[in-house]
Amino acid sequence: MTSTPEAIHLRNVVFGYNPRVPILCVDDFVVPSGKRIFLYGPSGSGKTTLLGLITGILEPQRGSCAVLGVEMTTLSASVRDRHRGAEMGYIFQSFNLIPYLTVRQNVALPCHVHKRRRKHIVAPTVDEEVERLVRRLGLETHLDHGVKQLSTGQQQRVAIARAVIGRPSLVIADEPTSALDTDRRHAFMELLFEVCDEAGATLVFVSHDRSLMEHFDEQVALSDVTRVCA
């Protein structure tokens, strides 16, 4: 699926939480495969809604959402859920982890839920793959700790590991650095890029912090992608 030239292609999309009141329109939005895209815009510019449409959590009233070669609008909700889990990694701003699982269990979770993620690991077993990734992110001493014991920065790194395990084709990061201080922010970005490259994943990075945009192949203002429907 990584072979499709366009990782994401949204066309003539109209969406409203109330179907009769459209709030977001996307005429044409393309993310080429393998690129790192920086999406910036203030909060309230439809960022969350756009990501909801890309990941298939939300369903547009009209238009087409092709993500990784699959037309999301033709799929049932549970097939979209599976597509999302199998093909996409997602990193939130904070609280990315299931509080009652250990680092190891959190990272391994996508592989337990999806066969595709399990099949694409680099190491021979899921456990070894988890260890490899966690070591890569410098957290090997915390493998079997509860995630509540980790600092915010460490938690975000665990979130990277969980997002990229089993080499998903698309990684979406939704303001992942805003809970980190400036020094850690750049280290985080470097790690994220490295592991995304290793996984060969397209990266969509959403932030209002434009100081990060120089790292990216393409920078897109949210206001150019979406417009508030009349």
Binding site: G52, S78, D81, Y90, Y100, P110, V113, H114
Partner: protein, 416 residues
């Protein structure tokens, strides 16, 4: 990691509230199951006390009091049966055997039952169990006494011990000090009221009251050496147990005894009278079960509250699960599994606790109240109770599940 494991881990992470919830459900299940098990345990215990006896015969009176004093040593006999009448029925052609019982004396709170060899030979409990001597032999001499196993163990008596019997059942001030009895045998444990009595011979009972007039002892106690068996005429007994030669004979004989002209008598079929007892007790059973049921509802509501209030904290967790591809149905399942797990663990805990209490309480209840409690397995009713608890728990899980599901739809990936 399966949804079940996830649910389990999630509950474990909230050990305190999960534990409290499990405890409250467990406690209410314990009550519910306990009431039911004790009822059935008592039922089996009572029914097991006497078997192969077709009729219990006493002086004219209520059938339940007769059964209770003659077999379970609860309450007292109001009247007696004359020895002649007893002889008449003991030699009746329809009768296979009889066991005469004369009561009215006691020793340190344990009843003294005067009987004869037929008791050791024919008494049966729990189907076909007969009485066995643990030590010594049957009481044959006038001043011989045989102890039930509970009497021997509680009073630490041994063979050859001299004991003094009291007149009447409560700690009486009239003691038959003149006539010390000797322990010649100890019965093996039966786990029935048989264990809680002292057995002497019918002649021994007469000897105790030798020279008495109108229920008062003679002014000068009669020394043991002056009593000879020939002087002892057995005049009355309290009741007797009887087995007929054929089942059909039982009903005819019962009618014959109940209409016996020379003396007013009551003959009862023990199983039928026990049925009456259960009918009396079933109202209490229903009341207790209702109370336990109400406690159970409270326990389940505690669980609902705990799960529901945790939902807000868990919005994030659910959003994360959604991003890794769990669909709404799986989130729903997670919550129902959690509540089902809580109630299943609670039910198991309650069941174990109920049996533990039964196991621990059995002997003291038997010893202090004379109520034989049998250990009984699971009944259909208990299984239904347990099934209902788990089903109700799972069903209640729908409420937080619905809310979480709705949250997940509204929140999208943006919860928190």
């Amino acid at each position: 990691m399966t949804t079940l494991q996830l649910a389990w881990q999630s509950l474990r992470s909230r050990k305190f509230t999960s534990g409290l919830t499990i405890f409250s459900i467990g406690l209410s299940v314990m009550l519910l199951v306990g009431v039911d098990r004790i009822r059935q345990g008592a039922q089996v215990g009572f029914e097991g006390t006497l078997s192969q006896t077709d009729l219990v015969v006493g002086a004219r009176g209520g059938s339940l009091p007769l059964l209770l004093y003659a077999v379970f040593h609860i309450g007292t006999a109001n009247n007696e049966i004359s020895w002649d009448t007893y002889q008449h029925f003991a030699h009746h052609p329809a009768v296979l055997w009889t066991i005469p019982l004369a009561m009215g004396d006691s020793h340190r709170g344990f009843r003294v039952v005067a009987t004869d060899d037929n008791f050791y030979q024919h008494y049966r409990y729990r189907g076909d169990h007969s009485l066995q001597m643990a030590q010594g032999s049957r009481a044959e001499g006038i001043f011989d006494a045989v102890l039930g196993s509970a009497v021997a163990s509680q009073l630490h008596y041994h063979l050859g011990q001299k004991i003094v019997l009291s007149h009447g059942l409560e700690a009486s001030f009239i003691r038959h000090t003149a006539d010390p009895y000797t322990v010649v045998g100890i019965l093996a444990r039966t786990a029935t009221p048989v264990d809680r009595a002292i057995y002497i011979t019918l002649r021994g009972d007469e000897a105790m009251h030798y020279g008495w007039q109108n229920g008062a002892p003679p002014l000068q106690p009669v020394p043991e050496s002056q009593i000879s068996p020939a002087d002892l005429q057995i005049k009355t007994i309290s009741a007797f147990l009887l087995r007929t030669r054929s089942r059909i004979g039982t009903l005819f004989l019962q009618r014959e005894i109940n209409t016996y002209k020379p003396e007013p008598l009551t003959a009862i079929i023990p199983a039928f009278t026990l049925e009456d007892l259960w009918k009396v007790l079933s109202a209490a059973d229903v009341a207790l079960s209702l109370v336990s049921g109400a406690v159970l509802v409270v326990g389940l509501l505690v669980m609902l509250t705990a799960l529901y209030t945790s939902l807000n904290e868990r919005r994030r967790e659910i959003a994360v699960l959604r991003t890794i591809g769990l669909n709404a149905r799986q989130i729903f399942t997670l919550f129902i599994l959690e509540s089902a797990l809580i109630s299943a663990v609670g039910a198991a805990f309650g069941l174990a606790a109920a049996y533990f209490v039964l196991l621990v309480a059995r002997i003291p209840v038997e010893n202090n109240y004379g109520i034989p409690l049998a250990m009984v397995g699971l009944s259909a009713r208990t299984a239904v109770y347990l099934g209902c608890v788990v089903a109700a728990g799972a069903l209640l899980g729908f409420i937080p599940a619905m809310r979480a599901y709705r949250n997940a739809l509204v929140d999208g990936l943006n919860a928190g």
